[in-house]
C-alpha cells in the first residue's frame, strides 16, 4: 500500500513537471491537487517535486516506471538538442504570457516532440482566442454563430500526417484528439484520445476530453483503456456525468481512501450527493472543502444551489461575497450571485447575473437552465423557452431544462404539448418521482382529462419513494374521482401514515381523515371510523362538524345495530 502510494506520488510529481512545461496548466493543476491529496504519512515535501527540472525527475522515477508508460517520452528527451532548448524556453515564456501566435512563430523551427507540441498547442490556442473574439464581433456575446477556429484545418493536416506515421507523442496525440473533436470527427477523436491516455495517463485534460466524447457508458469497453489509477478517476467522473450517481459515489469513496486529502474527490463526492438530492451530506462536504481551500471557486455553483434549495439566505450571500472577492470574472461566481438574487426574488437582477455568467462561458449549462427558471418567474415565457432550449441543445441530457420546458408549456395552458417534454425528462430520469409527478399532473389537467394515464404516472412516482408525498395524495384523489373507493382508501391510508411519520400537517391530512372516516363508516369499520373522527376533532370548524355528524351516526348505528355486520351474522343463525 505504501509502495503503491510512493509510486503514485512519484508519478504525479513527474507528471506535473511535464504537463506544466507543455503549458497544460489545467491538467498540471489537477495533478498537483491530487499530489497533495495523497495521505501525508511519510514522503518528502511536495514543493521540490513540482519545481524540479523534468529531466531530473524523469531520471529518478524511470526505474519504477510502470508498464503503462510508453517509451516515447524518454526517446523524445534524448533527441532534444541544446540549441532548441533555448528557443523552447522563449516559446514557453511567450506562451505563458499568452502571446500564442508569437510563441508559435518562435517555435516554428523546432523539430523535437516537445517543441512541436508546444507550437501546435500555441497555434490552437491562438485560433481559439481569435474565434472567441470573432463570435462576439459577429453575433454578440450570447448569439449563435458559425465562426470556427481557423487553425483547426492546418493543425489536423499536420498532426494527422504524423499520427499516421506514428510520430506523435502522447501530448500531441491528445491535441490531435481535441482538434478532431472540434472538427466533429468523434470516432477518430475518441480513438486518438484513448491512445493518448493509454500512453500517458496523467493528463487529466485528455481524460476530460474523452469523457465529453463518451456518450454512453456502454461505449467504454470499445475504448480498450488500460488499467491505471487515473482510469478510476475517469470512470468515477463519467458515472457522475451519466447520472449514475450511486455508482459514482462508490467509486469516489474508494478513491478517497487513496487520496484522503484531495479536494477534488471531496468536491465530486459532494456533487454526487447533490445529484442524489442528499443535500445535508453535500453541504457538509462543501463546508469542509471551503475550510481546507477557502479561495476555491470550482464547483461552488453547486454548493450555492444547495444553499438555494435550503433557503439559507445569509450563507448564500456570504458565499457570493467570498466568490466575488476571489474572482469576480468567473462564471461560477456570477451564477452564485444569480442564485442569491433569485432567492431574494429579484428575478431581473438574477437574470442579469446569469447572462453575465453566460457571457463568460456560452456553454455554461446550468446558467441557461437557471435563467429559464428566472424567466418563468418573470412570466416571460418565450424567453424562458428559448433559454431552456439553448440548454438542451448544449446537452440533450439536461433533464432540468426538459422539465422546465414542460412546466413553461403547462403554464401556457398547453398540457398536451408539454407532455412531450416531460416524456423526455422521464426518459432521462426514470427513477425520479418529481418527473413522474409532473407528468401525472399534466395528464390530470382538465384539458386532457386522462386520469388513467395520470394514475399510472403517480404509481411510478410512489414506487420510487416520492418524498414530497404529492403522488400518494393525488392517487387517492384520482381514485376517489373515479369512484374506486377501495383504492382511494388504500392510498389515503398510506398517505396518512407517511404524514404521521413526517409529522406533517395541513389540508391533506384533513382531507384524508374526512374521506377515511366516511369510507370506514360505509364499510362498517366503525371502530376505525371512530378513530379517524376523533383525530378530526383536532381540526377546524367545518370538518369538526362533519366529524361530529359521522360520530353521531356511528353511535346510532352501534345502538340500533341495523348495519352492523355482527348483527347480520347473528340474524342468519337459526
Amino acid at each position: 500500500m505504501a509502495a503503491d502510494e510512493m509510486q503514485k506520488r512519484a508519478e504525479l510529481r513527474r507528471a506535473i513537471g511535464e504537463l506544466s512545461e507543455r503549458g497544460l496548466v489545467q491538467a498540471a493543476k489537477w495533478a498537483a491537487e491530487q499530489l497533495v491529496g495523497l495521505s501525508d504519512a511519510d514522503g518528502p515535501s511536495t514543493s521540490g517535486g513540482v519545481s524540479a527540472t523534468p529531466s531530473v525527475t524523469t531520471r529518478k522515477s524511470r526505474k519504477k516506471e510502470p508498464s503503462a508508460l510508453k517509451g516515447c517520452l524518454s526517446l523524445e528527451e534524448s533527441e532534444q538538442t541544446k540549441s532548441e532548448e533555448d528557443v523552447l524556453l522563449l516559446g514557453k515564456v511567450l506562451f505563458d504570457s499568452k502571446e500564442y501566435r508569437r510563441a508559435a512563430h518562435a517555435l516554428r523551427e523546432c523539430t523535437s516532440k516537445r517543441g512541436t507540441f508546444l507550437r501546435c498547442y500555441a497555434t490552437y490556442l491562438a485560433g481559439e482566442k481569435r474565434k472567441e473574439e470573432e463570435i462576439v464581433e459577429v453575433a454578440g456575446p450570447l448569439g449563435k454563430s458559425d465562426v470556427i477556429n481557423q487553425d483547426l484545418e492546418s493543425l489536423e493536416a499536420e498532426l494527422g500526417g504524423r499520427y499516421l506515421q506514428g510520430q506523435l507523442d502522447a501530448f500531441s496525440t491528445y491535441l490531435y484528439g481535441v482538434v478532431l473533436h472540434q472538427r466533429e470527427k468523434k470516432a477518430e477523436a475518441r480513438k486518438a484520445l484513448a491512445i493518448s491516455v493509454n500512453a500517458y495517463p496523467w493528463n487529466w485534460s485528455a481524460w476530460l476530453e474523452l469523457q465529453e466524447l463518451c456518450t454512453k457508458l456502454e461505449d467504454l469497453p470499445t475504448l480498450a483503456l488500460e488499467p491505471h489509477w487515473m482510469r478510476d478517476f475517469f470512470h468515477a467522473s463519467l458515472a457522475l456525468k451519466e447520472q449514475k450517481n450511486e455508482e459514482g459515489l462508490q467509486q469516489y469513496r474508494a478513491l478517497a481512501a487513496a487520496f484522503p486529502r484531495s479536494d477534488y474527490v471531496v468536491a465530486q463526492t459532494a456533487t454526487a450527493h447533490y445529484n442524489l438530492r442528499q443535500f445535508d451530506e453535500a453541504q457538509e462536504l462543501f463546508e469542509q472543502l471551503l475550510k481546507s481551500d477557502p479561495y476555491r471557486v470550482d464547483g461552488l455553483d453547486i454548493y450555492s444551489n444547495i444553499l438555494y434549495v435550503k433557503e439559507c439566505f445569509s450563507a448564500l450571500s456570504y458565499l457570493a461575497h467570498k466568490a466575488v472577492l476571489t474572482d469576480k470574472y468567473r462564471p461560477e461566481t456570477c451564477c452564485i450571485i444569480g442564485n442569491y438574487y433569485s432567492l431574494k426574488a429579484q428575478h431581473e437582477r438574477a437574470v442579469l447575473y446569469f447572462k453575465r455568467a453566460l457571457k463568460l462561458n456560452r456553454n455554461y449549462l446550468s446558467a441557461w437552465t437557471l435563467m429559464g427558471h428566472e424567466f418563468v418567474e418573470m412570466k416571460n415565457t418565450p424567453a424562458a423557452i428559448d433559454a431552456y432550449r439553448r440548454a438542451v441543445d448544449i446537452d440533450p441530457k439536461d433533464y432540468r431544462a426538459w422539465y422546465g420546458l414542460g412546466q413553461t408549456y403547462e403554464i401556457l395552458a398547453m398540457p398536451y404539448y408539454a407532455l412531450y417534454y416531460y416524456r423526455r425528462a422521464t426518459q432521462l430520469r426514470p427513477n425520479d418521482p418529481r418527473m413522474w409527478c409532473a407528468m401525472g399532473q399534466c395528464y390530470e389537467n382538465e384539458q386532457l382529462g386522462m386520469q388513467e394515464a395520470a394514475i399510472r404516472c403517480y404509481r411510478r412516482a410512489v414506487s420510487y419513494e416520492d418524498r414530497e408525498g404529492i403522488a400518494l395524495h393525488k392517487l387517492a384523489r384520482l381514485h376517489q374521482q373515479l369512484e374506486q373507493m377501495d383504492e382511494a382508501a388504500h392510498y389515503f391510508r398510506k398517505n396518512l401514515e407517511r404524514m404521521e411519520q413526517d409529522q406533517a400537517d395541513g389540508r391533506d391530512v384533513v382531507e384524508a381523515l374526512v374521506f377515511l372516516a366516511a369510507y370506514c363508516k360505509n364499510q362498517g369499520l366503525l371502530h376505525e371510523a371512530e378513530q379517524y373522527c376523533t383525530k378530526l376533532m383536532d381540526y377546524g370548524a367545518p370538518e369538526k362538524e362533519e366529524a361530529k355528524a359521522i360520530l353521531r351516526e356511528i353511535r346510532s348505528v352501534q345502538e340500533h345495530g341495523v348495519l352492523s355486520p355482527h348483527m347480520d351474522l347473528e340474524s342468519y343463525t337459526p
Partner: protein, 877 residues
C-alpha cells in the same frame, strides 16, 4: 445575426460596376448576357450557399459568348486580388455608391448611350443592399471581409485555359438553359475538389499573406458563405415544397446532411428545423419528426426572434403556440394517430380561441376534416359485423359530421379569404359528394323522413370548376377570392359514389396547409425569384387535383373522352407542381383508361411506361408503390380473367387482398378486392361460394356507404345466378342494381345492368328474346360511345345471341347481317381483350350459324380460325 458582406457579393459588384460604367481603357466586352447573368445570380435561390470563385467563373463563362468570357474572368479575378488592405475596400465601395447616383456629376451632359442603374431595379436593390451592409460593418468585420476575399481568390487563380476545360467540355446550351441546376450542393463540392486538383497557378495576394501570416482557411469556409437570408428562406421553402410533394427531394440522410451544413454555417434559420421536421415526417420517423417540430417552435421566437413567420409580427408572439399545436396535430394526422391528433387539434383550437386567431381556427378545422375523412368510418373495419341496410348507422353519423365540418370550414375560409383553404374544402366537398350518396334536401339529416337518395350534381361541378379558377387568384397577388363560381355547366356532371383510387389524393392537403400557414405567409409572390409562396403552391397543386377529381367524375358519369381529357390536362399542365400521390393517381387513371379502350394489356403497358418516368420513380415512396402495385394487380387480374387463366387471377386477387385489406385500409380497396375474388369464383364455376362472397361484399359496401360498390356487388350477384343458370333468382339483383344505378346516374352501370337483364331474359327462353333485343338496343348508344372494350364485346355477343333466339330460321336467312355483324364485332373486341375462351365460343356460334345459312365456305374458314384458337389455348396451358 449581423448583415454580412461576402466576397461573392463583392465579385458581383465588380461586374456590375464594369457593366454600368465601362472603363474605356479596359475595353471589356459587355453585352446584355452579362447583365442577365448578374440579375440571375443576384436572385438565385437554388442553393443556400454562394458559389466559390471557380464555379462563379464557370457560370460566367457559360452565360456570355465564349470569346467574351476570358477577358471578363481575368478582369474579375484581377480586381478581386487588388484588394490588399482595408482601404482598398473603402475606395471600392465609394465607387460603387457613385453607380447609384442617377443624375451623374453636375454639369456633365449625360451620354445617350450611358447605362443607368435604377435604384429600384433588381440589380440596383442588390447593390444597395450590399452597400448598406458594408457601411454598417465594423472595422474588424471589414478586415474579415478582406481575409475572406483573399481566401476566395486562393482557390481560383487566373482563368487559364486548363481551368476552363471542364466548362468547355460541357455542351453550351445545357449550361445556358439551366444555369441554376448546376449549383446544387454536392456539385459545388465536386467543382471545388476539381479546382483544387487541377493545380491552380500561384495566388496574387502574396503581400496580403505576408502581412497576416500563413493562415489557411478551410476549404469549406472559403467562399462558401451563405446567401442573404431572403434567398436562404426561398431555398428552404423550395425544399419544404419538394418534401411536401414527395417528389425529387432525395433521401432523408442527404437532406439532413445538407440542413446540418446550413445550420453550421448560419445558425439563424430556425426554418431549417421545420424542413427537417417535414423530411422526417415524410420518411415516417416519428421521434425525429417530433423532436424537430418541438425544436422549431421552441426557437420560434425569443431572443433571436427572426423566425416570426406567422401572420404578421404582432400576432407572431401568440400565434406561435397554436401553430405549434396545429402542426403537431397535422403530424399525428399524417401518421394516423387519431387520438393524439384529436388531442393536439383540440388544444390548438382552445389556444386559438383564447387569442381569437380565426385563421388558425380555420386551419384546425381543415385538419379535423382531414382526420375525419381519413379515419375509417365506424362499422367498416374488416371483420366487423355488417351494419345491415340501415342508412343511419354510426357510419352515417360520421359522414354527416364530416359534411358539417367541411361546410363550416369552407364558409370560414371564404370569410377569412384563405385561398388554399377554400380550395381544400371545395375539393374535399366535391370528393365527399362523389363518394357518398346523401339525402336530397327534402330529407335533412336531422329529419328521419327518408327522402329520395341522390346528390346535387351541379354542386360537384361547381366545386371542381371554381377550384382550378382559384389558381389564378392565388398566384396573382390579390388575395381576393373569385366571386360566384360559374354555374354554367349544368346537369352534365352527376353524382357519385366511390372514386376508386382517390383515397390519398387529398391526404397531403392539410399538412401543406398547416405548413403554408406557419411558414409560407411571407407575402404571396414577394420572395426572391418571384416564386409563388407556399400557399399559392398548395393552391396550384390542388387545382391539379381538381382535374383528377374531374376525370373520376367523368369516368363515373360515363364520358370516357372527357375523363381522358381531364387526366391528360393534369399530366400535361400540373406535372411539375403535382404531389407524388397525384402523379401516381394520374398514372393509374391513364392506365385504367387505356385498359378500358384497348384491354388490360394496353393498360399494363401504359402503367409500366408511367412508372418508369423519372418523376414518378424519384417519388417512389411506400404509399405510392402500394398504389401502383394495386393498379397493376387489378389490370393483371382482368387480364388473367379474360384469358381464362384462373390460377393467375387467383394469385393476383390474393396479393391484392393482402395489400388492400390491411388494418386501417380504405374500405373501397377492400371491397374491390372482394368483388374481384367473387368474380374469380364465378369463372371457376363455384357458384355457391361466389354468391356468398358477393353477398358479404354487398353488405360491407352498404355499411361503408360505398354505393357504387354496392351496385357492382348487386350486378355481380345477378351474374352469379346468370352463370349458374337460375334466371329467376338473378332477376331481383339485376333489377335492384338497375334501379340504383339509374337513381345515381351511373349510366355505364345501368347499361351493364340492362345487359344482364337481357341475358337473364335470354336464359328464360326464346319467348323473351324480343324484349331482350329491345333492352339491349336501348343501351347501345351509351355502350358504343363510352363503354369499355369488355362491355362492348359483351353487348355485341348478347345482341347476336338474342337475334339468333328471336329469328326463326327462315327469317335468319333473309337478313344474316343482324346476327353476323354483332358476332364479328364481338369477336374483334374479345380478340383485343385476349379473351380466347370467349373468342372460341363466338367463333363456334358463328360457324354454326353459317352452317344453318348453308354458307359452307365461310363456315369452314371460321371453323379453321376456331381451331387455331383452340390450339393456341392448349399451347398456352
Amino acid at each position: 445575426m449581423a448583415q454580412q458582406v461576402t466576397p461573392y457579393q463583392v465579385a458581383l459588384c465588380i461586374l456590375t460596376d464594369a457593366y454600368v460604367k465601362p472603363d474605356p481603357e479596359q475595353n471589356l466586352p459587355l453585352g446584355q448576357d452579362l447583365c442577365l447573368f448578374l440579375v440571375r445570380e443576384a436572385l438565385s435561390s437554388a442553393s443556400f450557399q454562394e458559389p466559390p470563385l471557380p464555379l462563379l467563373l464557370q457560370r460566367l463563362h457559360a452565360a456570355v459568348p465564349a470569346e467574351d468570357a476570358l477577358p471578363l474572368q481575368d478582369y474579375l479575378v484581377s480586381r478581386l486580388a487588388l484588394a490588399t488592405c482595408p482601404d482598398d475596400l473603402f475606395q471600392f465601395f465609394v465607387k460603387i455608391r457613385e453607380l447609384l447616383s442617377t443624375s451623374g456629376p453636375p454639369g456633365e451632359v449625360l451620354d445617350e448611350e450611358a447605362i443607368l442603374l435604377q435604384p429600384g431595379s433588381a440589380l440596383g436593390i442588390f447593390v444597395r443592399r450590399v452597400l448598406l451592409a458594408f457601411n454598417s460593418l465594423s472595422f474588424e468585420a471589414t478586415c474579415r471581409l478582406l481575409t475572406n476575399i483573399s481566401a476566395y481568390c486562393r482557390y481560383s487563380g487566373s482563368p487559364t485555359a486548363d481551368s476552363l476545360a471542364p466548362a468547355n467540355a460541357q455542351p453550351e446550351p445545357a449550361m445556358a438553359s439551366a444555369p441554376e441546376s448546376d449549383d446544387e450542393y454536392p456539385e459545388d463540392e465536386d467543382e471545388f475538389e476539381e479546382a483544387q486538383r487541377s493545380g491552380r497557378p500561384p495566388l496574387r495576394d502574396a503581400g496580403f499573406r505576408r502581412a497576416f501570416g500563413k493562415r489557411v482557411r478551410s476549404l469549406r469556409t472559403a467562399g462558401t458563405a451563405v446567401r442573404p437570408s431572403k434567398q436562404v428562406e426561398a431555398f428552404l421553402q423550395e425544399q419544404a415544397d419538394a418534401i411536401e410533394r414527395e417528389v425529387g427531394c432525395g433521401s432523408v440522410a442527404a437532406m439532413d446532411a445538407q440542413l446540418s451544413e446550413l445550420e453550421r454555417l448560419a445558425p439563424g434559420f430556425p426554418k431549417v428545423q421545420y424542413v427537417r421536421y417535414l423530411a422526417h415526417m415524410h420518411a415516417g420517423d416519428v421521434p425525429a419528426a417530433t423532436d424537430a417540430l418541438h425544436r422549431y417552435f421552441d426557437y420560434g421566437t425569443g431572443q433571436d426572434g427572426s423566425a416570426l413567420t406567422a401572420e404578421g409580427g404582432a400576432k407572431g408572439q401568440t400565434g406561435r403556440f397554436q401553430n405549434a399545436l396545429l402542426n403537431l396535430g397535422s403530424m399525428h394526422v399524417h401518421f394516423g394517430h387519431a387520438a393524439e391528433a384529436t388531442q393536439a387539434l383540440n388544444a390548438a383550437v382552445r389556444v386559438a380561441q383564447q387569442s381569437s386567431d380565426d385563421v388558425c381556427l380555420a386551419h384546425a378545422l381543415a385538419s379535423l376534416c382531414h382526420l375525419l375523412a381519413e379515419a375509417p368510418s365506424p362499422g367498416t373495419a374488416p371483420g366487423a359485423p355488417a351494419a345491415g341496410g340501415d342508412q343511419r348507422g354510426p357510419a352515417e353519423a360520421h359522414r354527416q359530421q364530416l359534411l358539417l365540418l367541411l361546410r363550416t370550414c369552407f364558409r370560414r375560409a371564404h370569410e377569412l379569404r384563405l385561398p388554399h383553404l377554400v380550395a381544400f374544402s371545395r375539393l374535399a366537398l366535391a370528393r365527399f359528394d362523389m363518394q357518398h350518396v346523401r339525402l336530397l334536401p327534402t330529407g335533412l339529416p336531422s329529419l328521419p323522413a327518408a327522402g329520395p337518395l341522390g346528390t346535387d350534381p351541379v354542386e360537384v361541378c361547381r366545386l371542381l370548376r371554381s377550384s382550378s379558377l382559384l389558381l389564378l387568384d392565388a398566384i396573382g397577388s390579390s388575395p381576393a377570392l373569385p366571386s360566384a363560381a360559374p354555374s354554367g355547366v349544368r346537369g352534365s356532371l352527376s353524382l357519385a359514389a366511390s372514386a376508386s383510387g382517390l383515397g390519398d389524393s387529398l391526404s397531403r392537403a392539410p399538412s401543406q396547409l398547416a405548413a403554408s400557414f406557419s411558414v409560407g405567409a411571407d407575402g404571396l409572390g414577394s420572395g426572391p425569384g418571384k416564386k409563388p409562396s407556399m400557399a399559392a403552391a398548395a393552391v396550384a397543386r390542388m387545382a391539379g387535383t381538381a382535374h383528377l377529381l374531374k376525370a373520376t367524375a367523368w369516368d363515373l358519369y360515363a364520358s370516357a373522352p372527357l375523363a381522358h381529357a381531364s387526366t391528360l390536362v393534369h399530366a400535361a399542365c400540373y406535372d411539375d407542381v403535382a404531389s407524388a400521390d397525384d402523379l401516381c393517381l394520374a398514372a393509374c387513371q391513364l392506365a385504367s383508361q387505356a385498359a378500358a379502350a384497348r384491354g388490360p394489356t394496353g393498360g399494363l403497358r401504359v402503367l409500366a411506361a408511367a412508372t418508369a418516368r423519372p418523376k414518378l420513380a424519384a417519388a417512389a415512396g411506400q404509399a405510392v408503390n402500394r398504389r401502383l402495385r394495386i393498379a397493376a394487380l387489378r389490370l393483371q387480374h382482368d387480364q388473367a380473367l379474360h384469358r381464362g387463366d384462373l390460377r393467375a387471377a387467383e394469385e393476383a386477387v390474393a396479393e391484392l387482398a393482402a395489400l388492400a385489406c390491411g388494418p386501417g385500409a380504405e374500405a373501397e380497396l377492400c371491397v374491390d378486392a372482394g368483388l374481384r375474388h367473387a368474380a374469380v369464383l364465378v369463372a371457376g364455376q363455384r357458384f355457391e361460394e361466389a354468391a356468398a362472397a358477393g353477398a358479404a361484399v354487398h353488405s360491407l359496401a352498404v355499411a361503408a356507404g360505398l354505393q357504387l360498390d354496392a351496385v357492382r356487388a348487386l350486378l355481380l350477384l345477378a351474374k352469379v345466378h346468370l352463370a349458374a343458370g337460375a334466371p329467376a333468382a338473378g332477376l331481383p339483383y339485376a333489377l335492384s342494381g338497375l334501379t340504383l344505378a339509374r337513381a345515381f346516374h351511373l349510366d355505364l352501370h345501368a347499361a351493364r345492368a340492362t345487359l344482364t337483364l337481357a341475358e337473364l331474359a335470354l336464359l328464360r327462353g326464346p319467348a323473351h328474346a324480343h324484349s331482350a333485343i329491345r333492352q339491349i338496343q336501348r343501351v347501345l348508344p351509351v355502350v358504343l360511345a363510352h363503354g369499355s372494350l369488355e362491355l362492348r364485346a359483351d353487348t355485341h355477343f348478347a345482341l347476336a345471341r338474342a337475334w339468333l333466339a328471336a329469328l326463326k330460321p327462315q327469317q335468319g336467312k333473309q337478313s344474316p347481317a343482324v346476327v353476323l355483324e354483332p358476332l364479328q364485332a364481338a369477336f374483334e373486341a374479345y380478340r383485343d381483350l385476349e379473351a380466347k375462351p370467349v373468342c372460341r365460343k363466338v367463333l363456334l356460334l358463328t360457324a354454326l350459324y353459317l352452317n344453318t345459312l348453308g354458307w359452307t365456305k365461310q363456315r369452314d374458314q371460321v371453323a379453321q380460325l376456331c381451331r387455331t384458337f383452340m390450339e393456341n389455348h392448349h399451347q398456352n396451358l
